[in-house]
Symmetry: C2
């Protein structure tokens, strides 16, 4: 038997898992501060749901793990958390609106592997279903600003509105043809990366014959968000404003003048289902190539899923745990990751039963307590505690049990002191209150 993992799958050893848990706990706490509640849907969905026209699309479906249960029903592993959300809301139409939920879970894509790409990875999504109010869009931006501040990353939230892109495409290109408008928008999305010349070249290759310099000039903007919006409103006649200027100005009014929020009129996002506000979060200094979070407004997705004429507008943002962890590990240094949550390690010297009692008293006081289970000598035990970065070690010999004392060693300073059981308990339990 070959001992190995399936391709694209990973084990997370404690040091990495502790960091991942810390980050997802901060995401959860942030989501809850903004009034989102947790939803959990299963990892297995019916194939029909995953393959629905309004789901993730053809490309994603090719990469979806497919199988049957014993009843020969077609099933698949979810490729995102948005399609299950749409299915959930469609199945539970009486759920109170607006429905603000978050979900943190693994998704699966059987795609090509490269650096940073895995076949099992986490998505951490917040969505609000049931309102067209731009307050909900602004909340997504605020959640991102708040969370990245919690983890100490300097980011920029790029904001745009798909209506602007669609309107511009129609105005300049007579592109009533939706496919052509989409082709234009997807090239324009690269403006930040490849510049105006690059975009024009790509559009020509796609068969656009129009003079593109004028339309590209529109996106050659600078200044603060309000002034960019003003200049676009001036350059684009009102009949080509199907709502973007009002929506963007509302979003910016709710996010205040936060300098981390940047209006980027060329931003498009790939997915076809976005209908309004879109956002992407990048490191402010460009030190990481990809987006750390992204999302947008999708006013038709849920209704389409239900085949319903009732409107179920939605907006949400998805945080990518994998890129966030990659950036945080680079910043902290892999070698500095916390390896254990243990706060004190007990070394019994022929005092096992007394030590077990003391360990359980420490645990009852909330102290993360481990003890030698294999009867190593003191020096091997100190080495073990050191390797795991455990801050305190207590050695308990028979004389000490008799005298009611222990010798408590601070592993960082090297200081060692004889204290009573009670003093040790008090000192160690105060560690948690300082946190």
């Amino acid at each position: 038997m070959e001992l190995q993992l399936p391709r694209g799958m990973r084990d997370f050893a404690p040091a990495e898992k502790l960091l991942r848990d810390e980050v997802t706990n901060k995401l959860k706490a942030t989501f809850e501060r903004y009034g989102f509640n947790p939803l959990e849907t299963p990892i297995i969905e019916r194939w029909e749901i995953l393959a629905a026209k309004y789901g993730g699309g053809e490309e994603i479906l090719k990469e979806t793990y497919k199988f049957q249960d014993q009843g020969e029903r077609d099933l698949g592993l979810r490729y995102d958390l948005t399609t299950p959300l749409a299915r959930y809301v469609a199945m539970n139409p009486s759920v109170k609106k607006p429905f603000k939920r978050y979900q943190i879970g693994t998704v699966y894509r059987d795609g090509p592997l490269k650096k940073g790409r895995y076949r099992e990875f986490y998505q951490c999504d917040v969505d609000t279903i049931g309102t067209t109010n731009m307050l909900a869009d602004a909340e997504c931006v605020s959640v991102a600003l708040d969370f990245f501040e919690q983890v100490g990353l300097n980011i920029e939230v790029r904001v745009n509105n798909r209506k602007l892109l669609v309107d511009v495409a129609k105005m300049f290109l007579d592109a009533e043809d939706e496919q052509q408008a989409l082709a234009f928008i997807l090239s324009l999305d690269k403006l930040e990366k490849i510049g105006a010349e690059g975009v024009i070249k790509e559009l020509k290759e796609k068969g656009f014959t129009q003079d593109l310099s004028e339309v590209l000039a529109l996106f050659d903007v600078s200044g603060d968000n309000a002034s960019i919006l003003e200049s676009l409103k001036k350059a684009i006649p009102d009949e080509h404003d199907s709502g973007w200027s009002q929506q963007l100005s509302e979003v910016f009014s709710y996010t205040g003048n936060d300098p981390r929020v940047r209006f980027l009129p060329s931003l498009a996002r790939g997915l076809g289902y976005y209908t309004g506000t879109i956002f992407e979060v990048f490191m402010a200094d460009g030190s990481f190539h990809g987006a750390l979070a992204a999302g947008g407004r999708y006013d038709n997705l849920v209704g389409d899923f239900m085949n319903s004429k009732e409107s179920f507008p939605g907006v949400g943002i998805s945080f990518g745990l994998e890129p966030i962890i990659e950036v945080l590990k680079d910043k902290q240094g892999e070698e500095n990751l916390k390896k254990s949550t243990v706060q004190v390690y007990l070394v019994p010297i022929q005092t096992t039963e007394a030590c077990v009692k003391f360990a359980n008293q420490l645990r009852a006081a909330g102290v993360h307590t481990d003890m030698d289970l294999i009867g190593r000598g003191p020096s091997a035990n100190f080495k073990y505690a050191n390797a795991y970065g455990i801050p305190y070690v207590i050695v308990v010999g028979p004389d000490e049990v008799e005298a009611g004392v222990v010798s408590l060693k601070n592993m960082e300073s090297g200081d060692e002191e004889k204290v009573s059981f009670e003093q040790a308990l008090e000192k160690l339990s105060s560690l948690n209150h300082q946190k």
Copy 2:
């Protein structure tokens, strides 16, 4: 398209998910207090690993979801967390021992559905790999006692040792034949449920022809754990004690005289890989039919997986989230479940921008804050807050913004007061410190 879940899969709406999170958070906190650190392995494993001789066994394998990736490699969804742990330790033989890890995650079984049986469910496991010391076994018992106290359930931890059963089978039945010994042990396991007569009847049906009343008498025990152990030691000659009396007496010495720990000599547990201590946790009053947690010692599993002569003894206990939630929901009443984590709900009356600012100040102070996103009237908003059990509602009109005050309503008492923004902030943020 039919909007439905695959058979055996469930959605967890916020009220149920909040309870599930509360319980898994308490499990995690308990596991960490006992010095266990988190490990995460993927949900997809190679089929060869899942089908390994020392894995979950034939029966489980029949119920395992199987599929291929695009490279036509055989894969499956994990059916437990023990086989992945054995695979992990075998793949990482240099991991420091004892290796104390916990894992909380979903597992999958495509089996028959009945009440309380699902095809996706959570297991919450703690295991210690690398020591034969009974301290590790006793820690499993302590973790169970501690956790169930945290969630307020009165349980009993039934403890036994597989060596006792194997020794008795050999002594009374000349059952050198391992299959026969196992058949005997599996019937004996039902003693608690069907009584001595039931067990004898079942054994006769299995083809046992010996006089079984003498051996059954051995298990007709009462008294405290120490006296049961003493009477067994008296009744069973030393040459039929391959270690059980010593091991059991050590475990009981470490768990103290906790009345919730009960030595049950007929306890067997089904799985073939247990080699020593075994435990099962039941409601003390018998109010729930199944086990809430169970586990035991498996000294050969990991080594067998590695095809190694080196010994990798292990012991662990697995908490079943599904039965625990079922019991807690029955106890609390489904209608009393917390429906939202929101602590205050803001109702702007033509004061949206001021309200957004205030909401963000509350969030910065750690208060879970939601606000009206759809411009309902005050009474509809109070109804909404009531439906979700949100404890406070704040109404902010234009005059109030001018005067720097808000009207804060306690939804439980119905009291309403006009206070300054700052006072409201202070009062609401103190909610979290009281917790």
